[in-house]
C-alpha cells in the first residue's frame, strides 16, 4: 500500500474529500511515523496525540456532515514559537519551562478553524535565534537528508558518479537549518503534511532549502504575529513549510488574515494563492541581482542559480540584471536591529510571572540567576549585542544607522520593482546543509550568521520570499532557489515558484 504519509496536502485533501481515507487514519499514520522516526530526528519536542486524535474524529464528523473546512483533517506540526492553548509553548527555551498559554495564536487558530489537526510542537532554535537548530534547549534536530557517500568519495577523486540507485549514505548527522529546523525536518521526513514556521532573517527559507521543502516568508503584516513568541517584532513573520508550492499556497491561504489584535497586521483580503499556480510566466520580468554573486560562492550554488535563470527564461520570462547596491550592508544591519529588538522583547522573561525561576538573595540576584540559567549562549549573545547597540552614546552609531541602512535596502527593491521587475531570483543559501556541531561555525558565530546572507534583505525590506527546491548538491543534498516578490504579491511567488518546481521536480530524503 502507498504510505498515507507520502500524500501531499493537495492529495490528502482530495482523498479525505472523496472519503477514500479518513482523517483519523491519516492522523494515525502520522502518529505512527512520529513514534517510529522522531527519536532519531528530534523534530517534535512535544507530540499532542490526544489532541490530534480528537481533532481527527471531529474532522471526520464534519466531513461526513459536509461542513469540512479548507484544511479539514490535515495533520500539521506547529513550531514551538506559536502559543497553542494548554500545550507546550516555550520557543524551545529553558526559561519558559512548563509554560502552557491560556490562549491560542491567531495563525494556529486560523488553521484549527479551517479543520487542520495538530500533531504536536516542533523543535526550533531557542527564541528562533539560530540557523542550524542547534541552539534549542531540547537539543539539535537531525536533517532527514544524509550525504551521499559514493558522490563524496568519487568527487574527491575527480570522477563522475552518474545516477546510482540507493547510493550508500554518510551517516554524519546534518543540521536541518534554522530556526524552523523542526518544521523543515518534520515536513521532509513525512512526520506531518505541512508545518507552521516563522522567519526573522531566513528562518523559513534556509531550513526549507536544506531539506528539499518549500518555505514561504510572506510580506510583513500578511500574517498576524499575535500569539507568536516575539524575537524581533519588526522582522518576524509567520509562514508555512510544505512539500510542494501548491501545499504552501494552501497553507498560506489559511494562515494569513487580518487581525485587529496586531496593529502591524494589514487589513486586506487574502487572495487564493493557488489561483496563479501553473499560470504562464510569459512576459513576467525576473530580476537577477548582481550583488548576490558573492565572493567565494560555491560553484554548485552558482550553477543552480544559472539553471534557475534558464528555466524561467525557457518559460518565457524576461530576465534582467539588476542592482541592489546596499545588499552587503543588510547582514550587519540585521545583526543590530534584530538583537536590539530581541533584547527588549526578551526582558519579560524575568522569573517573576511564569516559566523558570532560580531563587536569589534579592530581586536582582533572582533576575541574574534566572536569566543566566534560562537563556542559552546564543540568546545571551544577542541580548548583549542588542543591549549594547541601544545604550546611551551608541544608539545613533548603531541603531539609527542600521535603520537608515534598512531604508536604503527597501529603496533598492522599490527601484527595481519600479523599473518593471516582477520577481527577483537568487540562491536561497550559500551552501547545502552542514554537519551538526560544525567546528568552524561553533568557533565563529559570524560564520553561522552568513547562512542568512541571501535571506535577511527580504526581512529588512518587509517583502515576501519563497524558497523552492531546485536541485541536489554534489553530495546529494537539496539546494534551493529564492524568489523575492513585491509587497503582498505572494501570488507571483507561487506562480513563478511552480515553474521552478515543475522543472526541478520534487526531492525526498
Amino acid at each position: 500500500m502507498t504510505d498515507l504519509t507520502d500524500l501531499t496536502l493537495a492529495q490528502a485533501r482530495k482523498r479525505l474529500a472523496d472519503k477514500d481515507v479518513s482523517a483519523s487514519e491519516l492522523t494515525d499514520a502520522y502518529l505512527a511515523a512520529i513514534s517510529e522516526r522522531n527519536g532519531a530526528l528530534n523534530a517534535y519536542i512535544s507530540v499532542t496525540e490526544d489532541i490530534a486524535r480528537e481533532g481527527a474524529v471531529a474532522s471526520d464528523k464534519r466531513i461526513a456532515e459536509g461542513t469540512a473546512g479548507p484544511l479539514e483533517g490535515i495533520p500539521l506540526g506547529v513550531k514551538d514559537l506559536y502559543a497553542t492553548k494548554g500545550t507546550h509553548t516555550q520557543a524551545c527555551s529553558h526559561i519558559l519551562d512548563g509554560f502552557k498559554p491560556p490562549y491560542e495564536s491567531t495563525v494556529t487558530q486560523n488553521l484549527w478553524d479551517a479543520g487542520a489537526v495538530m500533531l504536536g510542537k516542533l523543535n526550533m532554535d531557542e527564541f528562533a535565534m539560530g540557523s542550524s537548530n542547534e541552539t534549542s534547549h531540547y537539543g539539535p534536530v537531525v536533517n532527514p537528508w544524509q550525504r551521499d557517500l559514493m558522490n563524496v568519495a568519487v568527487r574527491s577523486e575527480g570522477g563522475d558518479v552518474g545516477t546510482i540507485e540507493s547510493p550508500p549514505k554518510d551517516d554524519t548527522p546534518l543540521v536541518p537549518g534554522g530556526s524552523s529546523g523542526g518544521s523543515a525536518a518534520a515536513v521532509a521526513a513525512r512526520l506531518c503534511v505541512a508545518a507552521t514556521a516563522s522567519d526573522t532573517g531566513g528562518s523559513i527559507r534556509q531550513p526549507a532549502a536544506f531539506t528539499g521543502t518549500v518555505g514561504v516568508k510572506p510580506t510583513y503584516g500578511r500574517c498576524s504575529r499575535w500569539g507568536m513568541v516575539a524575537f524581533a517584532s519588526s522582522l518576524d513573520q509567520a509562514g508555512p513549510i510544505a512539500r510542494t508550492v501548491e501545499d504552501a499556497a494552501l497553507m498560506l491561504n489559511v494562515m494569513a488574515s487580518p487581525d485587529a489584535k496586531d496593529t502591524t497586521c494589514v487589513d486586506r483580503p487574502v487572495p487564493d494563492y493557488t489561483a496563479t499556480i501553473g499560470d504562464s510566466i510569459k512576459g513576467m520580468t525576473i530580476g537577477i541581482p548582481r550583488e548576490y554573486r558573492i565572493d567565494g560562492m560555491a560553484e554548485e550554488i552558482d550553477g543552480l542559480w544559472s539553471q534557475g535563470i534558464a528555466w524561467l527564461k525557457d518559460a518565457g520570462a524576461n530576465i534582467v540584471d539588476i542592482s541592489l547596491p546596499h545588499t552587503k550592508y543588510a547582514l550587519p544591519a540585521y545583526y543590530i536591529v534584530a538583537p536590539a529588538e530581541a533584547s527588549s522583547n526578551l526582558a519579560r522573561y524575568d522569573g517573576v510571572r511564569y516559566g523558570l525561576r532560580v531563587d536569589g538573595s534579592d530581586i536582582t540576584d533572582m533576575y541574574e540567576k534566572t536569566r543566566a540559567a534560562g537563556f542559552g549562549d546564543e540568546v545571551q549573545r544577542r541580548i548583549l549585542i542588542g543591549t549594547y547597540v541601544l545604550s546611551a552614546g551608541f544608539y545613533d552609531a548603531y541603531y539609527t544607522k542600521a535603520q537608515k541602512v534598512r531604508t536604503l535596502i527597501k529603496h533598492d527593491f522599490e527601484m527595481a520593482y519600479a523599473d518593471g521587475v516582477d520577481c527577483i531570483l537568487t540562491p536561497a543559501t550559500p551552501s547545502a546543509a552542514f554537519p551538526i556541531g560544525d567546528k568552524e561555525m561553533a568557533a565563529d558565530p559570524v560564520k553561522m550568521y552568513l547562512n542568512d546572507v541571501f535571506t535577511v534583505t527580504v526581512n529588512m525590506a518587509g517583502l515576501p520570499g519563497i524558497a523552492v527546491p531546485a536541485g541536489l548538491s554534489v553530495e546529494g543534498l537539496p539546494l534551493g532557489l529564492q524568489l523575492i516578490g513585491k509587497p503582498f504579491e505572494e501570488s507571483d511567488l507561487f506562480r513563478v515558484g511552480s515553474v521552478i518546481e515543475a522543472n526541478a521536480g520534487h526531492f525526498a530524503p
Binding site: L96, P102, G227, M228, S344, R353, Y354, L390, Y395
Partner: protein, 498 residues
C-alpha cells in the same frame, strides 16, 4: 534638546533670603495625569480604582509571550483634548518608544512611552498666583514643553510577606499623560498655582479626575536655585510627589538644602531625590552616575500614531468651557476677579455656583457660595461634591432674602439648619416662624418700648446719630432678629429724630 530659554524677569517677592545675597528658585514640573478612560492604554482591561488585586489584568498587561499592544483610541482623544486645553501644538504624527528597565511591577521589562515624537508639543497656560492681601491675583504664563502618552506600571507591595514582595498589576498599562512644563516657575506659590490650574483644566476637560490622593495625578518636581537673574543652576528632581501641600514642603526643603550647600561653598550634584512627608525632607534616591540607561527605541509592535486635522477639529468643537473663559464670563457678569478666580478654580464649585446664580443676582450668589458654603465646607473638611447644602437649597435661601422674607442674618441661621438637618429653606422659615416682621405696627410697638425704657440713650443718640445702631440692636433682640432691619432703621430715625 532645544536650548532652555529664561522667560521670566526676577521678582524680589519670590526670593529666598541668603547670607550674602538673595536666591531665586527655578522650578519645572513633570505631572503624570492618569487618563480618564474605561480601558487601559494598550489593552481592554478596566482602569477601575480600588478593585481586588490583580483583577484588572489582561494578557497584554501581564506581558504574556506573544501578546501585542493595541492603542486605545479614547486615550488618544483624551490626550488631544488635554493638549488643546493647554493651548498646545497637536502633533498629527507621533510615535511610541520603549523605555527599558527591569522591575517586578513592570511585566514587559519596558514601559511604552513617547520619547522622540510626543502627541502634544509646546503650549502655554496662564496661572493665577495669589490672592495677595489686597485680594489680587498675579497672572503668570507657564510654558508647556510637551505632553506624551505612556503606560503606568503596576504596584509592588513589600508589606505582605516576611521575605517576599507581591505585585499588583491592576495599574499596569493604565494610560498616563506626562505633562512637562518649561522651567518657568519661580516660587512655591507659583508651583502650587500651576498644579492647581493643571488639575482644574483636566477636570474641566474630563480627561483626568485629578485625584492626587488616589494617585491619579502626581508630580516630579525639578528644583534648582541661583543668584537672581544668573544662569540656571544644577537641578535635582524630586520624584512622585502626590499632594500640592507636600509639593510645597518638598520645594521649600529642597531649596533651603541647596542654598545651604552653595553658601557653604559646595556645589549641587544632579540627582533624583525622594520626599519623605513624615520627616518633611527630601533624600537622595540615585545620583546621575547611577541613573538608568533606559535604552529608548521605537516600539516595533506599534505603528506611528497618525490622525488628520479633522480628527482634532472635531475634538476641539466639543471642548467644554475652560477655566480662563469661564472666569472672564463671570467677571463680565459683575463678579470681582477674586470671586471669579475662586469659583472657577474647581469645576465642581463653578458648576455649583452657576446653578445658584441661575436667575439670581450673581454677586449675591457668589458671596453665599464663597463665604458661607465654601467656608463651611473648609471648616468641616468636606468637598463640594459632599456638600450637605445643595445649590437648589442655597438658591432657595437667597430667594427668601431677595423677597424680604428673611434678613441676611436670619438667612445664616437658615443655612445652618439646612446644613445640619436638610430641608426646604422656605418651609423651615415658615415652620419655625423665622420670617421677618414687616408689619410696621409690631415693629413700632417694639421701637416705642425701647425708646421709652431708655430716655438717656435717646438723648445721647440725638447728639451722636451713630448711637442709633444700639437701638437697632435692641429692637432686633426684642424681635428675636425677625424685624426687617430696614423698617427698624426708618422708624428709629423718625422717632428719635436727628
Amino acid at each position: 534638546m532645544t536650548a532652555i530659554v529664561d522667560t521670566r524677569t526676577p521678582n524680589p517677592k519670590n526670593f529666598f533670603p541668603g547670607q550674602d545675597h538673595d536666591w531665586e528658585l527655578v522650578i519645572g514640573l513633570e505631572v503624570h495625569a492618569q487618563v480618564t478612560s474605561e480601558a487601559k492604554l494598550f489593552s481592554g482591561a478596566s482602569t477601575g480604582f480600588g478593585a481586588e488585586q490583580n483583577s484588572h489584568v489582561s494578557l497584554v498587561d501581564a506581558a504574556m509571550p506573544g501578546m501585542l499592544p493595541v492603542i486605545n483610541e479614547e486615550c488618544v482623544k483624551q490626550a488631544v483634548r488635554t493638549g488643546l486645553g493647554l493651548n498646545a501644538m497637536i502633533n498629527n504624527r507621533s510615535a511610541f518608544d520603549r523605555k527599558n528597565y527591569f522591575y517586578p511591577d513592570l511585566p514587559q521589562g519596558y514601559q511604552i512611552s513617547q520619547l522622540y515624537h510626543p502627541i502634544v508639543g509646546e503650549g502655554t497656560i496662564t496661572i493665577q498666583v495669589g490672592p495677595d492681601k489686597d485680594g489680587k491675583f498675579e497672572s503668570v504664563d507657564v510654558g508647556i514643553e510637551r505632553l506624551h502618552l505612556e503606560q503606568d506600571a503596576g504596584k509592588s507591595m513589600h508589606d505582605q510577606h516576611p521575605t517576599m514582595s507581591y505585585v499588583d498589576l491592576n495599574r499596569s498599562g493604565v494610560a498616563l499623560m506626562e505633562i512637562v512644563s518649561k522651567p518657568d516657575i519661580r516660587s512655591i506659590d507659583e508651583a502650587k498655582a500651576y498644579v492647581t490650574k493643571l488639575r482644574s483644566i483636566v477636570r474641566y476637560l474630563g480627561t483626568c479626575d485629578g485625584n492626587m490622593d488616589q494617585g491619579s495625578m502626581r508630580a516630579d518636581v525639578n528644583v534648582s536655585v541661583r543668584k537672581p537673574g544668573s544662569d540656571f543652576g544644577t537641578r535635582c528632581e524630586i520624584k512622585n510627589v502626590n499632594s500640592i501641600r507636600f509639593m510645597g514642603q518638598a520645594i521649600d526643603y529642597e531649596a533651603r538644602r541647596q542654598i545651604d550647600i552653595m553658601e557653604a561653598g559646595g556645589s549641587i550634584e544632579q540627582e533624583t531625590r525622594l520626599f519623605d512627608p513624615v520627616k518633611g525632607e527630601t533624600r537622595s534616591m540615585r545620583s546621575k552616575e547611577e541613573a538608568h540607561d533606559y535604552r529608548y527605541f521605537p516600539d516595533p509592535d506599534l505603528l506611528p500614531l497618525e490622525f488628520d486635522d479633522a480628527f482634532v477639529e472635531e475634538l476641539k468643537a466639543d471642548l467644554p468651557e475652560l477655566p480662563d473663559e469661564k472666569r472672564a464670563r463671570f467677571m463680565a457678569d459683575g463678579l470681582s476677579e477674586y470671586d471669579a478666580s475662586i469659583l472657577v478654580s474647581d469645576k465642581a464649585i463653578a458648576d455649583y455656583f452657576e446653578q445658584v446664580a441661575s436667575g439670581r443676582d450673581a454677586k449675591m450668589a457668589a458671596n453665599w457660595t464663597i463665604n458661607d458654603l465654601l467656608g463651611a465646607l473648609n471648616k468641616d473638611g468636606k468637598s463640594i461634591e459632599d456638600s450637605p447644602v445643595t445649590a437648589a437649597q442655597l438658591g432657595g435661601i437667597i430667594d427668601l432674602i431677595k423677597a424680604d422674607t428673611i434678613s441676611g442674618k436670619i438667612a445664616k441661621d437658615v443655612f445652618e439648619i439646612v446644613w445640619n438637618e436638610g430641608g426646604d429653606p422656605a418651609k423651615i422659615v415658615e415652620d419655625r416662624g423665622m420670617a421677618q416682621v414687616t408689619d410696621t405696627g409690631a415693629i413700632e410697638a417694639a421701637v416705642d418700648e425701647i425708646i421709652a425704657a431708655n430716655p438717656d440713650k435717646v438723648e445721647q443718640a440725638r447728639e451722636k446719630p451713630n448711637m442709633i445702631g444700639w437701638f437697632v440692636g435692641q429692637v432686633m433682640k426684642a424681635t428675636r432678629g425677625k424685624a426687617n432691619p430696614k423698617a427698624v432703621n426708618e422708624l428709629l430715625r423718625v422717632k428719635i429724630g436727628g
